[in-house]
């Protein structure tokens, strides 16, 4: 159904949509968050049951939601930071290639300021 990838392009992973709409394979951090959430749910639910011998489904569901959300925000924050760093690196490389050897060379400016 999807268009075949061009040569050199990374192949898009087969999409697995939870509840029919959340594509965990192609959304960054989604798979990681759901897996950790499931683990958190099992640990919380089972742990609660071990300690109290009471019905622990509610604790399990609550654990899933909280752990998924926590992992999601943590992962997305790091992903955003990484994207910004990649963008800065790309811009610096472009500037370096464009201005190498000229008075606008960033390396020359940096060396000049450090020798002063």
């Amino acid at each position: 159904m999807a268009a075949p990838p061009e040569p050199g392009e990374p192949e898009e992973r087969k999409s697995l949509k939870l509840l029919g709409f959340l594509d965990v394979e192609n959304t960054p951090c989604a798979r990681h968050s759901i897996l950790y959430g499931s683990l958190g749910s099992v640990v919380a639910g089972f742990g609660h049951f071990l300690f109290t011998s009471e019905r622990s489904c509610d604790v399990g569901v609550g654990g899933f939601i909280l752990v998924t959300l926590g992992c999601w925000f943590h992962c997305r924050y790091n992903y955003a930071k990484q994207r910004i760093q990649e963008r800065i690196a790309r811009e610096e490389i472009k500037k370096k290639i464009l201005y190498e050897g000229t008075h606008l060379d960033p390396e020359r400016k940096h060396n000049g300021s450090s020798s002063n």
């Binding site: 268009a3 959340l22 192609n26 960054p28 569901v61 998924t68 959300l69």
Partner: protein
């Protein structure tokens, strides 16, 4: 362009669209968790053997299910407003193009460096060549440079239209008697498609938009500067 039966967003070709995709992922995860909770509550309701006909109030639960949705809405609203204001920034465009909607074609005017004006009609099926896209390809594409801020001024000569290019995160209404402005910066070259997004008559589905984004060096050699 979208592939057949595509439901998700297209890959981003502008920084604003990248932000929109990030926001979409963020909101979708929140929605997924809410749906999961609701499904669980429904499951419990349908499978419980307990009955209690004497419930009269539940102040704590009512407080929780008022405050929690408010917090969730704030978590969604803050990134949304951030992107809204980011999309409205006008960052010294290098080029201004006018796009005028008609029934049922678009007119584009490159008047910054001369007087290039042309119409863009959908290619009828009989005129398609092998490899052309049915209902999407046009006779004259809008050729623009990448990595340069571009301002689009959009209006209409007759009825309401809407100039939309999903991969750039653009959709701006073309309103007769009004000039709407949108700006964008494309980050990668290619051919990108959009379709009229406001019902405008019998051939509303047959007035597509095609942008051909090329490197600036090649754009400078083109008809805009050599007319």
């Amino acid at each position: 362009m979208a592939h057949a039966a595509q439901v998700g967003l297209q890959d981003a070709t502008s920084p604003i669209m990248e932000e929109l995709i990030t926001f979409h992922d963020h909101t979708l995860m929140i929605i997924f968790l809410i749906c999961f909770l609701v499904l669980y509550a429904l499951f419990l309701t349908l499978t419980t053997k307990l009955t209690n006909t004497n419930i009269s109030d539940a102040q704590e639960m009512e407080t929780v299910w008022t405050i929690l949705p408010a917090i969730i809405l704030v978590l969604i609203a803050l990134p949304s407003l951030r992107i809204l204001y980011m999309a409205d920034e006008v960052n010294d465009p290098s080029l201004t193009i006018k796009s005028i909607g008609h029934q049922w074609y678009w007119t584009y005017e490159y008047t910054d460096y001369g007087g290039l004006i042309f119409n863009s009609y959908m290619l009828p099926p009989l005129f398609l060549e092998p490899g052309d896209l049915r209902l999407l390809d046009v006779d004259n594409r809008v050729v623009l440079p990448i990595e340069a801020p571009i301002r689009m001024m959009i209006t209409s000569q007759d009825v309401l239209h809407s100039w939309a290019v999903p991969t750039l995160g653009l959709k701006t209404d073309a309103i007769p008697g009004r000039l709407n402005q949108t700006t964008f910066t494309a980050t990668r070259p290619g051919v990108y498609y959009g379709q009229c997004s406001e019902i405008c008559g019998a051939n509303h589905s047959f007035m597509p938009i095609v942008l051909e984004l090329i490197p600036l060096k090649i754009f400078e050699m083109g008809p805009v500067f050599t007319l």
